[in-house]
């Protein structure tokens, strides 16, 4: 029973409390780049989720085999293999999605959420817990992308999943689907989430910059900044 409860917690934490996009501020590049429409946002979210779940499972299963010193390159190879599989499937069955995502599909390899979860969770926990963690984080990532994609598509193109919305489709605010709109919507969403979190007595999402990066431990910028302060 306690075991089940724990798994439930792993699942839900990724969706709200530790939402990778809105609370942990990870994976910002795809969040900004692929949310010009709901369709590409969901496509990106699902593709990254599949890679995340599979790589979490494999890394967790191999956590006792991979030597600590070469773990990052090993993780990168595992993640890159799954990205290649997803890339081939999408190219074969969803060519229109492949066109929309373009270069961002292979770039799932360097998505910090995936490497971050491998470092922070999968190499310490059991296979089942890691799979559930990946599922929760994937749902959280997809949900945040969906939210941003919906806001940008509704205001920027006046459509939702391609269907026109009366009034808005006659007066689309193009800036929302242009690059500046991405930064703007993300900033405002973050402010709203911070406001809600604060009213519930939770800590607000801070710009942790390099700290959030999975490479932070190996990176010397942090050491230098510590030495300076």
């Amino acid at each position: 029973m306690a075991e089940k409860k724990k798994l439930g917690k792993e699942l839900t934490k990724g969706i709200i409390v530790e939402n990778p996009v809105l609370r942990l501020v990870l994976g910002t590049c795809p969040t900004l780049a692929t949310t010009t429409s709901v369709e590409s946002a969901i496509g990106m979210g699902l593709a990254a989720s599949i890679v995340l779940i599979c790589s979490n499972v494999v890394i967790s299963a191999l956590r006792k085999v991979i030597p600590d010193k070469v773990r990052i390159p090993a993780y990168i190879v595992i993640i890159a293999s799954f990205v290649t599989i997803v890339q081939m499937v999408v190219k074969a069955f969803l060519p229109s999605l492949d066109e929309q995502l373009g270069v961002y599909l292979p770039l799932i390899v360097v998505n910090c959420i995936i490497l971050g979860r491998a470092e922070a969770f999968a190499n310490k926990n059991s296979v089942i817990a890691s799979a559930v963690d990946g599922l929760g984080m994937g749902i959280g990532f997809t949900a945040a992308l969906f939210l941003m994609g919906a806001v940008r598509e509704i205001f920027g193109a006046g459509t939702f999943l391609g269907t026109g919305i009366p009034f808005l489709s006659e007066n689309p605010m193009l800036i929302f689907i242009l690059p500046p709109g991405g930064f703007f919507v993300y900033g405002i969403l973050m402010a709203v989430v911070n406001r809600i979190a604060e009213s519930k007595g939770k800590k607000r999402a801070e710009l942790r910059g390099c700290e959030a990066c999975p490479m932070a431990a190996t990176c010397a910028i942090n050491k230098k900044e510590v030495a300076e302060s």
């Binding site: 900004l32 910090c112 500046p180 930064f183 900033g187 911070n194 910059g209 390099c210």
Partner: protein, 199 residues
């Protein structure tokens, strides 16, 4: 003549109209994380330019002579990320041993760059656009310079932002993103400039 014209047009497109950070959203993590101070922003961007140029110079022959020749294009993602990771490590070791001065200036930024999506992005884009070697190099250097331009501009904006009074719920990350949005608007002004100069 047309050749040089084309190369300069690729360079300017990568710096201004298709700026990697502000128009293509590649390398957002360092853009938000390392742009607090001007000197770190410059150091990081210099390291990015260096690694981008080097990664392109190395991956181009690998792609042409190995992957395309033996019809292994589907391995591009895996091969490129591994080459970049190995390259960054190698550069770090060589700089540390032989050019300590340069290592002290750039070396600390190198590990971060392995997982920087801008480096892998530029390499993949070069292949996707089927650029030749010279075009790839100009595109990479342009992308790096564009990254530097955005970083330096944004570091300036953030230094000003520090002394502003911001409503509480907008403090920190939200206002930084809105500021990035405004910097990005200024780059929209370059739309069409390259086509008009060289068209």
């Amino acid at each position: 003549m047309t050749m040089t014209k084309e190369l300069i047009s690729i360079l300017l497109t990568a710096i201004l109209t298709q700026n990697f950070v502000l128009a293509k959203f590649l390398g957002i993590c360092p853009f938000l994380g390392v742009s607090k101070k001007l000197n770190t922003a410059v150091g990081m961007s210099a390291a990015v330019i260096f690694v981008m140029a080097l990664a392109t110079a190395v991956t181009y022959p690998i792609n042409q002579l190995l992957l395309v020749k033996f019809e292994l294009e589907y391995l591009q993602t895996i091969v490129f990320i591994l080459v970049i990771a190995a390259l960054v490590q190698l550069v770090e070791i060589i700089l540390k041993k032989y050019i300590p001065a340069l290592y002290n200036a750039l070396g600390i930024y190198l590990p971060l760059i392995t997982t920087n999506c801008a480096v892998l992005g530029v390499v993949i884009l070069n292949v996707d656009n089927s650029y030749n070697f010279a075009q790839s190099m100009f595109n990479s250097i342009g992308a790096g310079l564009g990254f530097m331009l955005a970083m330096v501009m944004f570091a300036g904006v953030r230094e000003r932002l520090d002394s502003c009074e911001v409503p509480k719920f907008m403090q920190g990350l939200p206002i930084t993103l809105v500021a990035a949005s405004l910097v990005s608007v200024s780059f929209l002004g370059f739309t069409g400039i390259v086509e008009n100069i060289f068209g």
